[in-house]
């Protein structure tokens, strides 16, 4: 089973490398990429400095795998990559990287949106929002 959980922030370099790697796959005509970034929200005058992601690892990997399979069934994709951070990700850094590739744009774009929504809804990942003063609160998806 391909692993989707990734320790720490996803670097721009990893994304660039991933794009470069697909340049040999010349049956691809369209990519879509979604990047989730940690926001420095302000709550009661305190700023979020980072999110410490934890998860139910075995279940999260299993569900991410199911989302992959469902996506391939639903959309005519050539390639699909999903990475979600665990551990500490600072504000401004990337915590989610979804990369879909297909012959034409529509499939890549529709699949990318589908995956992001499925992840938000179904994957047991928990986010501890750490404020600059080291206090914290728990993130809840809206």
């Amino acid at each position: 089973m391909k692993k989707s959980l990734y320790t720490g922030a996803i670097t721009p370099q990893k994304i660039a490398d991933s794009i470069a790697y697909h340049q040999t796959k010349t049956n691809i005509g369209a990519h879509d990429i979604f990047l989730g970034q940690v926001r420095a929200d302000e709550v009661n005058g305190k700023k979020i400095a980072a999110i410490d992601y934890s998860c139910y690892e075995e279940m999260a990997e299993k569900i991410l795998h199911k989302i992959r399979e469902a996506t391939f069934e639903k959309f005519d994709l050539t390639c699909l990559h999903i990475y979600h951070s665990t551990g500490m990700v600072k504000a401004g850094e990337l915590c989610l990287f979804v990369f879909t590739s297909s012959r034409h744009r529509k499939m890549a774009m529709d699949a990318c949106r589908f995956i992001v929504e499925e992840i938000k809804l179904k994957v047991p990942v928990f986010g501890k929002e750490i404020f600059e003063d080291h206090t914290h609160q728990w993130k809840v998806n809206t």
Partner: protein, 78 residues
């Protein structure tokens, strides 16, 4: 029988433990859930879902000694 109970995120903060072996007489999830809530009354005011053996369960399923019961707070992925 002994079952394994897991707590995550803000729930683990409340129970002050992330994994627990519990000896229980409950044969079904609802009874077992009540047992856990009585053990950690603060959980009663929190929102959570339950996964049995890594699968979200909404019905009152039977439990076995191999059941791994996870209490999951609201998801925050992405």
């Amino acid at each position: 029988m002994n079952v394994t109970v897991l707590f995550f995120g803000m729930l683990a903060e409340v129970t002050q433990t992330s994994v627990l072996e519990l000896n229980t007489n409950s044969m079904h999830l609802t009874d077992f859930q009540n047992e856990v809530l009585n053990l950690f009354p603060d959980l009663k005011k929190m929102s959570f879902k339950i996964a049995v053996n890594e699968k979200i369960v909404e019905e009152d399923v039977p439990l076995t000694a191999f059941s791994k019961i996870a209490f999951l707070p609201p998801f925050a992925g992405g």
